[in-house]
Symmetry: C2
Subunit: 347 residues, 2 copies
């Protein structure tokens, strides 16, 4: 899922995203609550009407953003008091208020308000945090069901509330978190609190510990991950959905993903190169422009650099996911993986 | 002509420019000489190959930029010594070297190296400057003809060298400059040294003084102008071609041109407005998005704001020129002008 934090996937238009055939994009409740305001977006017919996106949208609850504020926030059982990163104004997010925000935004999938447990965290803190996340999930569900009834009665489409598994890197906590959440019988489950500094081994172990607890017939979503190899790891581990700013943010930093690995487009080595960024790629960036021109655009800080790079990286990521899906359906995922890493080198 | 100073029209792709049906775009010899270097661009097959633009290109000689450097440049009969605005390195532009640069860039129309006389300027300075520009035009033509022969012999397409009329706001100087240039029998002529601070009356008078001296069957190009009403003034005065950064630069500052006048899209008044930017416009920005969303994109400094605004402004300018052309052909330009200003209010 391409990330459109502020109701736009940075450097792409909605027409670009349709051309890229993105099935679903992300929005962020924290950012949209602050600007332009969830009630304003509701008056435009929700995020779909506001940004003119006809396909599914998932909103993150903003838990990750609020907890990232560090000095600016205070956690209680009630919720999180925080100060806006924009103007320092004081706000309170509770599980109930976040549901109200996400209902106003009107995304197809909405995430429960959780605490993204930091890394490292002691087992004691991870347990407390996970248990609070579980109590909050229950409160989210209660408020969501109230709002949903009124909404459906008013002829508006229902929204799917996903829960978020926490528990740090502690197996027992992750398993308890997953089981307790599954007890709420939600339409989908996410694994949160990863990609926050843990090792690859810790991440793989956490996925391995958690996924078997989550029902196979409901989507499993690994939040905030990752590099191409991390997506492959996730799929191998049983993950169905991902979101990450890496393809868009790295694009703006001139780091492009190709069939042979990462390319740093600002490097002088590309200045006289009239070959495409990735000869194996059929996107506009690769079929219409060569490396020398892309390097020039980055070198001169031109906006077109950000657009062409983002377009390519999103194309790369969506194609990566599509080809994994096709390989699973065809029953030759292991072959696919070998073929991918035969050309793709990283790190 | 949309301005693509550094081989890109800021915030648009070449695909966008083709969709907008731009017939010709601009590049700038000064900027491209510094980055990525004209010899590098030549190795890519000139600007057309470098930026993958299949339609005509005009390169400005860089005279305007070099003379804008103020403290960093020194004018002699030979040419202009200047220091790069990027790294302070020392460079010399002569009429001959600029022709070499513009031949390497390979645009379809190339501009002579002139001195853009500042405003205000004494009549004495304006005369000296204009006479030097005339001597430089002769030197440009000589070097251009040498380069052209070799080029055509090598099977490369010929380039059209346009001369630039100078003379400040002094009628006699403008007329002498125009007559002397016409004596060189160039394929087109530009009026330079306007839009540098003079009044509208001075500009109109200068156009009126100059245009009758320029042959009607060759293109007349007014450089660096302007707002929509300035383009109409120019067309009324007999001008065929314009270039200006106003549509693109103003777009990035959230100033958008509509059939009813200028709109400042950052203003709070648009925050809850679900109407299109311009109901009379059929561009993507106006048919796919509403003012509330565009305002949000500017408010949050999102890249999509710059793209959608630029796309619309270029669409507006190209449509303005097309509709003037159609009105002239249909013989009802006066009616057209009245109809335009019946809705368009400015200032």
């Amino acid at each position: 899922m391409p990330v459109g934090t502020q109701a736009t996937v940075k450097a792409l238009s909605q027409q670009d995203l349709l051309t890229l055939d993105a099935d679903i994009i992300l929005g962020n409740a924290y950012h949209l609550y602050l600007r332009p305001g969830h009630e304003r977006i509701e008056r435009f017919g929700g995020l779909h009407g506001f940004m003119n996106w006809p396909r599914p949208i998932l909103t993150d609850s903003g838990g990750f953003q609020v907890f990232s504020l560090q000095e600016l926030r205070k956690i209680t059982e009630e919720g999180v008091q925080f100060r806006s990163h924009l103007d320092g104004s004081a706000h309170l997010f509770t599980p109930e208020s976040v549901m109200e925000i996400e209902h106003a935004l009107g995304a197809d999938i909405i995430m429960a308000f959780d605490e993204c447990t930091p890394y490292p965290a002691t087992e004691e803190y991870a347990r407390e945090s996970m248990e609070r996340t579980q109590r909050w999930a229950q409160r989210c569900l209660s408020r969501h069901e109230q709002l949903q009834s009124a909404q459906v009665a008013a002829g508006r489409p229902p929204q799917a509330l996903f829960g978020i598994v926490q528990g740090g890197v502690y197996r027992q906590l992750r398993q308890r978190s997953a089981r307790d959440l599954v007890g709420l019988d939600l339409p989908g489950y996410a694994i949160g609190g990863l990609a926050v500094g843990e090792s690859r081994a810790e991440r793989l172990a956490t996925i391995e510990d958690t996924v078997p607890e989550l029902p196979a017939h409901k989507p499993r979503y690994l939040m905030g991950v990752g590099l191409p190899q991390d997506l492959i790891d996730g799929v191998v581990g049983g993950i169905d959905m991902f979101d990450c700013v890496i393809p868009t943010r790295n694009a703006r930093n001139s780091t492009l993903f190709t069939s042979t690995g990462r390319v740093r487009m600002k490097n002088a080595i590309h200045a006289d190169d009239d070959s495409p960024l990735d000869a194996a790629c059929e996107c506009i960036t690769c079929t219409q422009y060569h490396r020398g021109y892309l390097r020039h655009l980055f070198q001169t800080n031109e906006l077109l650099a950000l657009h062409l790079a983002t377009y390519h990286n999103i194309h790369f990521y969506l194609r990566l996911m599509r080809s994994m899906r096709a390989a699973i359906i065809d029953g030759d995922f292991t072959d696919w993986q070998q073929a991918f890493f035969a050309t793709y080198q990283d790190g």
